[in-house]
Assembly symmetry: D2
Homo-oligomer: 346 residues x 4
């Protein structure tokens, strides 16, 4: 199968390329970049020198249609919606890594992204690409909206609890999330200037981060009712990794091991979700460069709260890796194909 | 005034020395180290070379009595209790930086530290050294238990809320705290081995960290009733800094600015607590190397929660700086004397 | 082919495992650990959880002989020599990642490692495993001494210059090398304690580092005469990567592009050595997690010096990756098989 | 004395402010910023909140004349020359932290900075502000050109060798320097974007860095003859610190301890230069946040080379601290006044 990457210049673009080059069943034939059109890829991403001999193209939908069977769209939020629509209408399978097709309602998009969606009629076509919930829908989809990095970590932590009524009190949900710097992309900014970012720790977009909308939508669908919770993201002085700590008051006397069993059952078929044994908790380094999401849990007897900790690599399971997992499903390839990277540690 | 430091080898020991060398009103005359007794201080802490000409002594209470007026005890937890008792009984003013005299009840000490307190009769003499609450008691104290780094950050964030009944629902309290690596001290360990610690983020002692006991004790005293909450600390790949994110459901319709006003009033006399204006939140780098604790707050309208964020340098306001602030009070020196370090940024 | 790893607990052990798990032509059947014998591998290296189901064995040469066709020995220097000898004598192909078989003369070993070699009679059997020079010898070898990380970076930078008499004045050779912290291994120590190592830069073993012996031996062989030079290694606050900056006075008027051409020719068949174009210089991040060694060069017209800059990942091309490259040669597999990892950036 | 800072927005500006606020004998009365004129300083540098109540002004020479006795000019290279000329002509004492007045000849400025100097007639008035060489000239100067960070580290390492003819062969001089990221200033750029800079090590401006001109000029003056050498700077993933490793072939049989004695004598009056004992070498962390420059030396018997290692904090002894040291001399204040900061470690 021939694969295209629209917007190869950024971090998700280069991570897609890294993963696809290791994939046995596909071939990257077409990569585009607005600012580097006409230049060799190794000029944009020098670590690819000697590995790949592609030239960045200017994006043209006709060219994409001719050269590829499926495209990943790794453009910034807002820029993606039109390109995706063109590609989709040209009959290509599309996986969009931006947020533009994650929300089902144009009004929600306006609320969380402060702009109008210009192709609202397509929102209903997009499948939310979290394979661990939506495997079957993704298999049949032509347009997949690849989830955000925070939502992937949080939804994987919460999903098993939604299966069974009365496990937790959903009104008590608090998510305290921490991310490495690569999640903010490749464009330099004061906050990510090395001397400002290293040896520093801060919260940002406190309780107003746009990923809340996506999480509440999907959690609401899993629960069958609306869900609102507090979400505070923080910036960690590291490149890769998200670790989310989630707090919920238990509505049951269930013991920790029984809750863990619920998780193990839920994820028994999910190669990339690792439920850790009692007393062990995730570390971002254990998933570095890989497509795993590690889950740990603890029942706090003193307060009756359940504490869930989930860790993933924001560029892999939180972006490009999950996108390739979706691609595998859409193309009828084995779901884990090309994705069984061993985490890089140290 | 002549000052001693018992246990100068560790990070709090050297940080005390750094601060006291800049202090206009005191003179360090006596420093001890078990492992470096007889050696020049600059051999233990090479950054002091050319600055100070002290030799590490073996700790002897008689010598301490002769050479000093006040001593800081910077020994590890468990080792401190006997030394402190001897110094106190020798008539010296003592500030203990370990946890050994922070809990008022020997039973609580056993619960949280899994060992017996050998001098329980002295627990009642120790004043909890958080000057922003206990200023007057500290002025009259001979034995001060210097607070832990996490408790300082959390108690300063919570104290103003305890003044007024009905502001928040205390049963909903969740504290998600993040600390740099220096809080764990100077002894090498696998978790703090550079290749394991950098580019990594993890929780530890999930809901079982010993600082919970100290926080619940002091919060209980401020509230006039027992308080139990969930406390999860995390390790950030940086040297200095603690940032605590605290979540509480509001029991009032009070607006954010009015809550901020409660904080401003509470801390109007507290030079080292900076309440940030609306929209600004603390960063650990803004307090790096200084005795400040920065506080930010946000009322989450969607969920009715109050989010408090507090940041301090764990070795300064979280340890040695606060200890010197206590010393100033005990010796009748201006509280901020020698402590107005500008934070080091970048 | 069945592969064993003796000493799987350390960083080179786990990196070998990571690489071999991605290798299409071999199968790891036997891993040993002194301290973790009997325990599942994922207990030692938690990032392997869910990926591999091996149990650490106690090393026994008979077992190794039965279970494997080739073994990697990743034991510490000094501990390796006996194990290697046993394995070799049992008829196994052996690749030793320690320094124990790199020096050809027992006297040199004594000089640089301050201990006696206990199996000096085997030194003559060992082939120095730098495939870019010794490809044919390695193909026929049963015992390969895998080069050190610094020597690999320096020898690859110097080798092309040794081909042609009179290019440089070898008496002027100075090597200033910089390494990340993982090169020192997994055992915690004060120097690698996170708060001591991060935000710090230092030289160490100034002009007395043991890798000098290995470099001088191999350079001497390439040159056909003895070579002595100044070598100063430094510790960089990062996990992976070595960058060596090498200075030599030119003995010719050759232009920079012509010198580069010498390099391009020398490495025309070497997939893993990338000679960078004029004006570009290596960065460790461009080889992160990969088996590449990047080379840049600059002719300083003002002083007549040649400046060579080489970068590699010390755990891959500087250790485990190069070892697998040697394995491929020894087993008659395509040299690059299982080793074409794209560098991980960012 | 009333002090001004022209260009307070950058890192040297804020570092000057930090140091001057701790200084007992001066008072900062005037700070300017082009982009933040009219705004409170704490909006530009939030870590100063609650500490200082200055407002950024637009630079006007008349205002500077009225409000200050001495000004620091911390503008970017190229922008500084005109402002300095105006201030100097208005009768103020000026310390310029840019490179604009460091070179004595306009032609050299053109060579190294690729632009014309617009006030060449003033170049002769400027004294090169390295107090350890030029103490007396600085005392009488009205215009001081504050040295670059690399030149300070290298010239302090070399100066003692220039005192005595025949100690070294100056033609063999090679300087391999390494700097933290703050030396490049506060403006975000791709190279200093956190995910590009951390876990990365690279050389830059290989043998063409503009500081070479300044070093060769001053070294030439100390030697009484022209000096050209190879200078390669590298970027270390840390915020503060420069470590320079300097290589020179000895022209004498002098023993290491005798050479060290030359250094000790040369710097016997220099509080901020610490010559380390045999076997100890500088680390950047030992000078962090302080005005010290640490020097270590090693005689490599195998090759007859002398290896000099020098470390300083590029923002302090490499910029703002040295500027304040110059200020003290110019104002007749004790040279070390306000500058005896203990290094911050860890």
């Amino acid at each position: 199968m021939r694969i295209g990457i629209i917007g190869v210049t950024g971090y998700t673009g280069s991570e897609l390329l890294r993963i696809l080059l290791h994939h046995p069943g596909v071939h990257v034939t077409y990569v585009t970049s607005h600012s580097f059109a006409g230049k060799p890829l190794a000029e944009v991403h020098p670590h690819f020198q000697g590995i790949i001999d592609l030239t960045c193209q200017k994006f043209e939908v006709e060219e994409a249609r001719r050269e590829t069977d499926l495209v990943f769209c790794a453009l910034p939020h807002g820029e993606s919606m039109e390109a995706v629509a063109q590609l989709y209408r040209a009959g290509l399978k599309v996986i969009d890594l931006s947020a533009d097709y994650r929300l089902h309602r144009a009004g929600d998009y306006r609320t969380w992204y402060q702009r109008e969606h210009t192709v609202p009629e397509l929102l209903g076509q997009a499948v939310y690409g979290l394979p661990e919930f939506n495997r079957e829908k993704i298999r049949r989809a032509s347009l997949v909206a690849n989830p955000g990095c925070y939502p992937t970590s949080v939804l994987l932590a919460l999903a098993p609890l939604t299966r069974q009524e009365g496990l937790v009190d959903w009104n008590t949900l608090v998510v305290d999330a921490k991310s490495g710097a690569s999640g903010a992309g490749r464009v330099p900014s004061p906050v990510l200037h090395y001397p400002e970012c290293t040896e520093n720790f801060r919260a940002y977009r406190v309780a107003v981060h746009q990923h809340a909308g996506e999480m509440e939508q999907e959690l609401g669908m899993l629960l069958g009712k609306t869900a609102a919770f507090t979400f505070v993201p923080h910036l960690v002085p590291m490149v890769r990794g998200i670790l989310s700590t989630t707090y919920l008051t238990l509505a049951t006397e269930m013991q920790e091991e029984d809750i863990r069993e619920v998780y193990r059952n839920y994820y028994s078929e999910a190669f990339f979700v690792r439920v850790l044994p009692q007393g062990l908790f995730p570390e971002t380094r254990n998933v570095y460069g890989s497509n795993f999401c590690d889950l740990g849990l603890h029942r706090d007897r003193r307060t009756g709260r359940l504490i869930l900790i989930s860790a993933l690599d924001n560029l892999v399971k939180g972006a490009a890796g999950q996108a390739v997992q979706n691609m595998n499903l859409m193309l009828g390839i084995e779901e884990t194909s090309g994705l069984k990277f061993v985490p890089l540690r140290p």
